[in-house]
């Protein structure tokens, strides 16, 4: 053999071609016959085919040490999100909420029930814990319930964090996740002053949004209030970028992705993240009513993505967030942090959540499991445990060592592994252990199908589609 094979993974992509990917996300399609000649060492090293393979660093005629050094630099860049440790800190000031979403995943409290409100002492200890993170960037994201139901606590935490940061001098960001309906001008002005971005939920046109996310007070029109408050927020901030929206797909959303996307465009959003329902909380209990087979989501997702590509072709710049994330991994050498899909998993080491009582969970989903008396992923409590005990304890080490796709069964030789990630919490919730079983794993099915579809689109070599995809990465 005139060349050295470098690490790669492969899969039959279709009847005539194999797809090969390497550790740093480079890829190439090879005809079946070329693939077999390649692995048998029979490709002419002066052929165009070999130059293509070599340019992807899947084989080399150079000194191996030199190529290793280059690949190691790229690998290090891809994994550089690990260097900073936990930067996303989600805080639950209260479980009170004025909505009754059909897929609600927390044991929400009514607006006048203060039994799950955070105390100032707990808030103080949370902020203290957050600032012990070595990360130079700290994002504090308020979750709920709806945090706007205890806006005083939100303000207290923001100001406490700003105070701490006078000494720590980190890059500090805030986000509040809210249904918008309780926000008034004074609150929005406060959020603007403290540069606290707003993340909201929008499930689609009025009837769908109101079906998925009704307010507890049935007299109120959720969608109308949402729209009115969204324009108030944008007016005060003076731009549209201050508020982003997330959608969740319930059974009622299936078959309606075009309408959902149109609603996002109508309301002035320039991106959407087409999200499937996750299996925690009420969603699992009421599976029959609101859940659906993952295959249905995948079909809807593909139609939605095609529609978004068409919109872009017609001149509307509009991004699908999940595709953009994956494309960045497939087409660029850059690091992409995404707590829900990275390897090692982002649980605890990239993001963490502090509940109203000071309990610390490795992810929001872990907190939801705790509502059903499963405390497996609870790292401790800020009122009782030190930062070291929680973030350098045996539990987090154990979780992370079970959460690297590089060595999980089936992932280990999956061609999509460089773009994928592990989720030990979801594996535990759905399949009973942190490792999970890939052949029946819904998350795996979804990710695999979507990455496969993106590769199909890239493989068309359609200049228009490529232009659109690249425009999403800037």
């Amino acid at each position: 053999m005139g060349y050295q094979l470098l690490p790669f993974r492969f899969e039959r992509f279709n009847d005539t071609e194999y797809l090969l990917t390497n550790e740093v996300g480079e890829y190439i399609f090879l005809q079946n016959e070329d693939f077999h000649r390649f692995v048998d060492g029979k490709i002419d090293t002066h052929s165009d085919l070999f130059y293509d393979i070599e340019s992807k660093q899947i084989a080399t005629t150079d000194k191996v040490e030199d190529v290793v050094s280059m690949l190691a630099t790229k690998f290090r860049t891809k994994k550089s999100i690990l260097r900073d440790f936990t930067s996303l800190h989600m805080v639950v000031p209260t479980l009170r909420c004025n909505s009754s979403c059909i897929y609600c995943q927390v044991a929400r409290k009514n607006r006048d029930d203060h039994s799950a409100d955070m105390t100032k002492q707990t808030a103080k200890n949370i902020v203290k814990t957050i600032f012990q993170s070595p990360s130079p960037c700290i994002k504090i994201e308020f979750q709920g319930g709806d945090p706007s139901t205890d806006f005083e606590m939100v303000k207290y935490i923001i100001e406490e964090a700003e105070w701490q940061n006078l000494f720590k001098k980190k890059e500090l960001d805030f986000v509040i996740c809210t249904n918008l309906t309780l926000l008034n001008e004074k609150m929005v002005k406060y959020l603007k002053k403290h540069n606290c971005m707003i993340s909201t939920s929008l499930d689609g046109p009025k009837d769908l949004h109101d079906t998925n996310r009704p307010l507890q007070d049935k007299e109120l029109d959720h969608h109308a209030i949402f729209e009115k408050h969204l324009s108030m927020i944008r007016r005060i901030w003076g731009n549209n970028d201050c508020a982003s929206a997330l959608m969740t797909t319930s059974k009622y959303s299936l078959g309606r992705f075009k309408e959902i996307i149109d609603e996002y465009v109508r309301l002035g959003f320039n991106s959407i993240f087409l999200r499937s329902l996750n299996p925690y909380g009420f969603a699992k209990q009421y599976k029959e009513k609101i859940a659906y087979p993952i295959e249905d989501f995948i079909e809807n997702y593909k139609e939605g993505l095609d529609y978004i590509i068409e919109l872009n072709k017609k001149g509307t710049f509009f991004v699908e967030g999940f595709a953009a994330l994956l494309l960045r991994r497939m087409l660029t050498p850059f690091a992409t942090g995404f707590v829900d899909l990275q390897s090692p998993a982002g649980v605890g080491i990239a993001g963490v959540i502090y509940d109203y009582d000071g309990s610390v969970y490795v992810s929001d989903e872990a907190r939801m499991m705790a509502r059903f008396k499963n405390y497996y992923f609870r790292l401790g409590n800020v009122n009782e445990n030190s930062y070291q005990e929680m973030f350098n304890g045996e539990l987090l080490h154990r979780i992370i060592s079970s959460a690297c796709t590089e060595c999980l069964p089936a992932c280990v030789d999956c061609v999509f592994q460089p773009y994928c990630g592990a989720d030990p919490v979801r594996n535990m919730s759905e399949q009973g252990d942190m490792i999970g079983f890939r052949p029946t794993n819904e998350m795996c099915k979804k990710t695999k199908s979507i990455i496969h579809y993106l590769f199909e689109l890239l493989h068309k070599h359609d200049p228009e589609i490529n232009r659109i995809f690249w425009s999403w990465l800037n």
């Binding site: 050295q4 094979l5 550790e23 692995v39 190691a72 690998f75």
Partner: protein, 110 residues
């Protein structure tokens, strides 16, 4: 060509048996291939009584999944892919280790 036959045998009780030759496939490869089918069928492996170089992999229906000869042929293809992965890994596994080691080496230890 006419003499070439898939090493698949239909047994009683809706079971199929694939005869795997350890001269062609390693133990790890057989296990990795079985793993990918184990959610659909009960799968059992047993060394051939007369020839220790052969292992009989027996597929039995599970839930409502009816087993057909096609499934076992897919298994034969999976064996080939897994063995190929095993072979190429033997050529570059150490390089993968070198890359990871180099990537996570503290910068100042160079």
């Amino acid at each position: 060509m006419a003499n070439i036959k898939f090493p698949v045998v239909k047994l009683d009780n809706n079971k199929f048996q694939v005869i795997v030759d350890f001269n062609l496939y390693t133990k790890e490869v057989v296990t990795a291939s079985i793993y990918k089918f184990s959610h659909l069928f009960y799968i059992h492996q047993q060394t051939d009584a007369d020839n220790p170089n052969l292992v009989n992999v027996i597929f039995e229906s599970k839930d409502d999944n009816t087993i057909t000869e096609d499934i076992t042929k897919q298994f034969c293809n999976e064996l080939i892919d897994q063995q190929l992965r095993h072979n190429v890994n033997a050529q570059f596994g150490h390089i993968r280790d070198m890359i990871v080691e180099e990537a996570f080496k503290p910068v100042n230890s160079k």
